[in-house]
């Protein structure tokens, strides 16, 4: 549980890439025009109602028939990108802490727990900083560690473990989880419809007054998570260093899970400050999708969420990545089979280049008839798999288009790279045929339509789009833009961004010892 997406939230546009069914139909066939020949157009439409609470929180309600269940989503516009060196991992750490309860949930007696909680914070944070800064004698540290242990033992007498999960489990939750990406922190769950009020109570408390109990043991859990996802995973390690190379200035370079030493140095004080800075209702979006009573939901939203005080707005990120003018290359050592990543800087939505890049991504790697699959897998037998995605590692700011390839045994990286480069050049020099472009558009539309087949993925789509672009209706606008892209625009976009000087290439290589060991 508590997944941290490796690729970040695949950016709203990409995520969107999965799901829309809407007014595109209208676009394709305006009412006054004669009906077009050929198949009925695909419509991707979400019937939702937007509520703005006085405290700045936005809710979107999407009622639909079917089994009496709903997906509940609460998202915040905060993620790895909002942290700074020394504090990396804080957004993700806070996501874990948001499951530890409140002054009412997760405790048997907050009045008695509180002094212990506060004493523990003081001692634990002091020990953390001592270790991080290399201060204090071994004896002082040992004494403090003993004190932290003792205090947390005492506090445990009042802690009701994992009570958040307990109530959702009891109610019959499905897929309860949270994720932190570079852009967003999202909490979601599917519940039977008779648990709607429970959801309101629990989620509003999480925003209103979280208590960061069990902070230090949870920090250890995250250290294990980092070992699992990054340090012991070839792709995880390659990806982290790829991002840190492609971005020099912009905080997209920082890993959402945090550098290992930063995670060890996170304190409760930092986490509290982070909460006050970023978890204002005005920085949050709630979404409900499913079979529930809308009028009642509105009343409960007003009661439970409308009464949360508004806090200040988070500080803006002013850093812009300087234009990359020379190719960057990095080799990452790991005893595993070859993997490579290639990335190019490009603008984010609503720049038209972003929408066109989604189509380029589709042309290159979506399906077995895509250009790179045909060439690299089927014709030249160069790779096991090839994928691409847009809006990496996030979509709040200008970002990357990325191609990932896994060369077959004995195939040098240069050969794979050459073939990819030739296919990219072809995008610039030859206009894509009408049929191929139509195929890409249809596939993007259908992927959005399929996302609507699940209440949870609909909620995630609506929530992420609202948080990143400011209005979930942009889903429909985006799909209209997809429909309108021309072959010439594809050529122009490829030529503008997919250049050698604008690219970063990362490859996995075996560490020297691994070779020696193998020889022995």
């Amino acid at each position: 549980m508590r997944k941290e997406s490796r690729r970040g939230a695949r950016s709203w546009a990409l995520a969107l890439g999965l799901c829309l069914a809407g007014p595109l139909a209208l676009l394709a066939a305006p009412p006054e025009a004669p009906p077009p020949k050929g198949p009925a157009p695909i419509t991707v439409r979400i019937h939702g109602e937007t509520l703005k609470l006085p405290n700045g929180m936005t809710f979107v309600l999407v009622q639909r028939p079917g089994a009496p269940t709903f997906a509940g989503y609460i998202g915040f516009r905060v993620g790895g990108v909002d942290t700074v060196p020394g504090d990396t991992g804080l957004a993700h750490m806070f996501e874990h802490m948001a499951f530890k309860g409140t002054q009412h949930i997760g405790t048997t007696d907050w009045a008695k727990e509180k002094p212990l909680y506060e004493a523990l914070e003081k001692a634990g944070d002091e020990l953390t900083l001592m270790r991080a800064e290399g201060k204090g004698t071994p004896e002082q540290r040992a004494a403090l560690a003993e004190k932290v242990k003792e205090l947390s033992r005492e506090e445990h007498r009042y802690i009701k473990k994992d009570e958040f999960d307990y109530w959702y489990t009891l109610a019959g939750e499905r897929a309860e989880n949270a994720s932190t990406s570079e852009d967003l922190t999202q909490y979601y769950v599917m519940l039977p419809s008779n648990a709607l009020e429970l959801w309101m109570l629990m989620e509003s408390q999480r925003i209103r007054e979280p208590v960061l109990r069990e902070f230090y043991s949870e920090r250890s859990v995250i250290e294990q998570e980092r070992l699992m996802r990054t340090d012991n995973d070839p792709m995880g390690k390659l990806y982290e260093q790829f991002e840190a190379t492609a971005f020099m200035a912009h905080p997209y370079r920082l890993p959402t899970i945090g550098w290992a030493s930063d995670v060890r140095a996170l304190t409760m004080a930092k986490a509290q400050a982070f909460f006050h800075e970023y978890y204002s209702p005005s920085n949050a979006v709630g979404v409900l999708v499913g079979n529930f009573d809308v009028a009642q939901a509105k009343r409960w939203i007003a009661e439970f969420f409308g009464t949360i005080p508004r806090r200040g707005d988070p500080p803006p990120i002013v850093t812009k990545e300087p234009k990359q003018e020379e190719e960057r290359r990095i080799q990452v050592a790991f005893d595993a089979h070859p993997q490579m990543l290639m990335g190019w800087h490009k603008p984010t939505w609503p720049s038209p280049g972003d929408t066109r890049m989604d189509i380029i991504s589709n042309l290159l790697t979506d399906g077995v008839t895509s250009r790179l699959y045909r060439r690299l897998v089927e014709e030249d037998h160069l790779v096991l798999e090839v994928q691409s995605w847009n809006d990496d590692p996030g979509a709040r700011y200008d970002n990357l288009f990325v191609i990932q390839a896994s060369p077959n045994e004995g195939v040098p990286y240069e050969k794979v790279e050459k073939a990819i480069t030739e296919e990219i050049d072809r995008l610039k020099t030859e206009p894509v045929s009408a049929a191929e472009l139509e195929k890409a558009k249809t596939r993007i539309l259908a992927s959005y339509l399929r996302r609507l087949d699940s209440t949870l993925s609909t909620a995630q789509l609506v929530g992420a789009t609202q948080l990143i672009t400011g209005d979930w209706h942009n889903i429909e606008i985006y799909l209209q833009q997809v429909q309108a892209v021309t072959p010439q625009e594809i050529q122009k976009t490829a030529a503008a961004y997919l250049t050698t000087g604008n690219r970063t290439v990362a490859t996995l290589v075996k560490p020297p010892q691994a070779g020696k060991e193998a020889q022995r």
Binding site: M1, I105, Y166, G172, R174, P192, L198, L201, A446, L449
Partner: protein, 480 residues
């Protein structure tokens, strides 16, 4: 301006609502009114059989213009001949990749992808599956292709070679993900290296596979009388049945002789397998044993209900389970910890799992052993039982969330011989499980003193602390 109006309207609504509630806002779940029972009638499925014996399960659902089809065929890797491990898997991949007699691979892919229809094929342990998800407007184009893939795949040589080399490349990379390695090798430890239920393809076994063998595998096992076809979505059932009869009517039934499948061992060898991967900085720990047979129809193993409740409490129920609480929440020793249990056509298994730091590996093994021992020593508390049962009962409605999932699940239950009233009586059966039932199934199926442990990590560093968990066998990573 529009926004402002909206906000004002909501303010009014909020004001009304607050006055509607008597007393202060609840802050704890106990303060909420008890949840009303869910009013819900599961959709009824249409079941029919074509004259050639193909069984149909249909569920119209017009909420989106999509149709989803799943064909389940009795054909699996357990029937792979000795030395030919990988034949079922390759055949499964090549069903789609190799095109059909009427639709050569290239044209078929082009047609399907240009209409964004998703066709996928695979053959697993016990059954093969052909799936199609398409826009309902394209039924006329895609259905004949779907039928062709099932009835007359062409296994084009060049496409088959690509699938084969893909499989070989996957095998070369099979030792890179610690979870994947551990679960795969644990199965071998439990069932035996060469057991049909555990063996995996090797470069050598795949290299020898031929197009003729794939063709023969398909010819032997793919017949309408061993196929269940489930269809959900935006269609008219009468028209769909007619169309399916038109497409599949000429497919002739045939009696299939299934080869004998070597039985699973009575008891796996207890002890600890330590698989050496020197560069890892985290250990993967699995511990478990074999359970029982699922049984079919009237002989369906009714222990499953108590077993599900027991395992929910032990390690299947996420944060409310003993293993997650003890290993993750209380001690911070792992990000993932839990257990799963199942019955099988021959035998099933119970496996507890965790990934932890090297210095805490032995501690985690001990926590797993203790938690399982406690489950076999005393019944769960009333509260644990209540939580587990409520959760299983309340989440049951999610079995009906999506029409595709509903028919797919129904098809698999039919395939595995679940009683016809399984879904209808599930809630009642779970409701009836007592704490003593949990203890009884724990005692019947779990023997922590005889567990087989599997640990993946640097052997030299881990071995000394793991002695208490049985005789240690250090093994290298298996050669691909």
């Amino acid at each position: 301006m529009k926004r402002l109006t909206c906000a004002l309207a909501l303010l009014t609504a909020a004001g009304l609502a607050i006055s509607a509630r008597q007393g202060p806002l609840p802050v704890r779940p106990e303060q909420l009114p008890k949840a009303a029972p869910l009013a819900f009638t599961p959709p009824s499925l249409l079941r029919e059989s074509l004259p050639n014996g193909m069984r149909l399960i249909l569920l119209p659902d017009h909420s989106l213009p999509l149709v989803k089809l799943y064909a389940i065929v009795k054909a699996g890797s357990i029937y792979d001949p000795a030395g030919k491990t990988g034949l079922a898997e390759l055949t499964g991949a090549a069903l789609k990749a190799g095109g059909t007699v009427k639709y050569p691979a290239g044209a078929m892919e082009q047609t399907l992808e240009s209409i964004a229809a998703e066709l996928s094929t695979s053959i697993g342990e016990e059954y093969g599956e052909v799936r199609l998800n398409l826009l309902s407007r394209d039924l006329g184009t895609a259905l004949p292709i779907f039928a062709g893939v099932l009835m007359e795949p062409a296994f084009a040589q060049d496409k088959l070679e690509i699938e084969k080399s893909q499989m070989e490349e996957e095998i070369r990379r099979q030792n890179e993900d610690p979870w994947e390695v551990s679960f795969r090798e644990m199965k071998k430890a439990l069932y035996g290296d060469d057991s049909p239920w555990a063996r995996t393809p090797t470069l050598k076994s795949v290299d020898g596979l031929t197009r003729e063998e794939c063709e023969a595998f398909h010819r032997r096992y793919f017949h309408p009388n061993d196929t269940i076809l489930a269809v959900a979505g935006d269609f008219d059932p009468k028209a769909m049945t007619g169309e399916l009869q038109r497409l599949f009517g000429g497919w002739r039934p045939e009696k299939v002789e299934y080869p004998p499948v070597a039985p699973a061992p009575e008891r796996p060898t207890p002890g600890l397998i330590l698989m050496d991967q020197p560069h890892l900085t985290q250990a993967t720990v699995l511990a478990g044993e074999l359970t029982g047979r699922r049984g079919r129809g009237a002989r369906f193993n009714g222990d499953i209900y108590a077993l599900d409740v027991m395992n929910f409490i032990l390690g299947g129920g996420g944060f409310t389970s003993t293993l997650t609480r003890e290993i993750r929440s209380s001690r911070g020793l792992a990000y993932t910890a839990g257990s799963m249990v199942s019955f099988g056509t021959d035998r099933g298994d119970f496996v507890a799992y965790c990934q932890t730091g090297l210095p805490t590996t032995a501690e985690v093994c001990g926590l797993i052993r203790r938690a399982v021992a406690e489950a076999t020593a005393a019944p769960p508390s009333a509260e644990e039982l209540e939580t587990a049962k409520s959760s299983l009962l309340n989440k049951f409605v999610f079995n009906y969330q999506n029409s595709g999932q509903i028919v797919h699940q129904a098809a698999l239950q039919e395939f595995f011989g679940y009683p016809e009233d399984y879904m209808a009586t599930y809630s009642q059966r779970i409701q009836a499980v007592t704490a003593q039932d949990c203890l009884a199934v724990a005692r019947k199926y779990l023997h922590p003193g005889d567990f087989t442990y599997f640990v993946l990590g640097p052997a030299k560093e881990l071995a000394p602390s793991l002695r208490p968990f049985g005789a240690i066998t250090v093994q290298p990573l298996p050669e691909p």
